[in-house]
Subunit: 343 residues, 2 copies
Amino acid sequence: MRAAVFHGPFDITADNVPDPQIKAPHEVIVKVLAGAVCGSDLWTYRGESSAALESRIGHEFVGEIVAVGTGVEKLKVGDVAIAPFRYSDGECPACKSGWPSSCAHGGFWGWDSDGGQGEYVRVPYAQATLVKLDEAPDAAALPDLLTLADVMSTGMHAATSARVAPGDTAVVVGDGAVGLCAVIAAKLRGAGRIIVFGGKHPDRQALARQFGADEVHSARGPEATNTLKGSTGGIGADVVLECVGSAASFETALTLARPGGRLAYVGLPHGVVIDVAKLFRTNVSVSGGLCPARRYIEPLLPEVLGGGIHPGRVFTTRLPLADIAEAYRQMDKRETIKVLVTP
Amino acid sequence: MRAAVFHGPFDITADNVPDPQIKAPHEVIVKVLAGAVCGSDLWTYRGESSAALESRIGHEFVGEIVAVGTGVEKLKVGDVAIAPFRYSDGECPACKSGWPSSCAHGGFWGWDSDGGQGEYVRVPYAQATLVKLDEAPDAAALPDLLTLADVMSTGMHAATSARVAPGDTAVVVGDGAVGLCAVIAAKLRGAGRIIVFGGKHPDRQALARQFGADEVHSARGPEATNTLKGSTGGIGADVVLECVGSAASFETALTLARPGGRLAYVGLPHGVVIDVAKLFRTNVSVSGGLCPARRYIEPLLPEVLGGGIHPGRVFTTRLPLADIAEAYRQMDKRETIKVLVTP
């Protein structure tokens, strides 16, 4: 089959790789119907992650099951399913306590199994990992469904971790796909007012408003703090959803919360260090982390299938797997919000 | 009047100081019935705080009102009241949002007004600050009531910030007065199991058990982590209440929480820095901060007056104000859990 391979910084191409084979009874093989490039893939693309050379990549996919292991009873060939961005066994103490993100036997696509940017993927612990759809989706529904693998679930994890409550003033820091999905999530949880701090791209600003943002600003640092204070009578936001993960973004995000405000982050933090004494006086809390996406897919499915939300609009480009190098180039240059990859 | 004065490290004595005078219409003068020495006073005592030489000290007191400002209508001479450890105006945006700890016009006893270790205290914003008792308390009730000024409210803030829920496995790190009160608080919120990590003092261990602890350990660092893992089937605690505030204690506390676990801290953090990347994989959240004690006094009052809880047992020594130097010596040497000071 063909799949994306990381050869080194700024060098990811679609290559011929071995077809996946079922290795254990709990596994299935999925034929990818739609994959995606994630903002977090750019850490690898830019040579800033610990990914090994020649490793596979891509952790978002919706696919059709084409082979099942002997221990698999609840899934059959022909089923279409959404894969969360990490697989998990569903049985360890972490999984049972609701945190498949900490599964004792879990792993990441591309590192611990095939990547989602490819034709086929071997799925360990398939019954616990995959969320089967009741019926095969229309092609038009694929983008929305695909976001549940990561970005929409991750946006929901930000809003859930920060406990966005009806009427809250919610700030979203970041206008990437996760930040934009966090706007949808804050709206779903009843935020009274949503204020986005992002860049200056008109397409992202427009999508933020379409998704429910009341204000969209491109201010950063102290200017962002002042803007937000001006918008909230000087006190700050009830909740802040940090969807960037850089030290500078985090530092600003902390200044945006009111006393007792709740900050949640969902992007892998890069060099983010908090002096707890700075939180002490304000009682701002910090929650979030690696999204347990498996937990969010089922509750979000009716919203997506019913047309209540359209997170798939973050896919502003669609490219075939053969053009994966171009997909990364566009993502890296921020020429697109997110690329949907068709095998 | 006489009041405790900080002359320099390890030198706090009861001296003659000017009698307080009402300076603004919203103030009252309180005659202290009972004050206390707090673990956090030891930062000053040991020369590790920024307290100015000759400053006053003590932030916990119950007292009788002896003079009222012209703008005070809800309090009268003769009323007995509990003072939270910080005064607040009750009207600023922070106060109105439930965070008097961040009051725009608030201040600390000893620094911004008289200290609680003294005969009289001038109380700014008295109506918003003080919690009046319906009737003058018995002398026997004073210790329990006095803990609401700080340590019991602060323990409750830890449990509340960590959202201790019925059935939770709760760990308390620290066996000082606040840690012990956090045991009471976790129990009040329905924790199913309470595990304390403290020192080796038999009196503190006994009190922890009396207050509701199921297990009391003196292990620290990695040994504490292993002990806790052994007690929780390898997964860790649902909630961790960090009641010490040192870097070492905080680092251990973070390892005690299960994936998705909730850590709350309530002591002023000294040199505590968190690498957020370490929280990312486990989704452990960090909340808490300076306790908005004013908010907790009223709900805890019936528990104390009804005899449901006896946090006053943390006062293992009672000394007159004249012996304040001895009170600090005993606290510093950990010869007592907490000292009640009678003027």
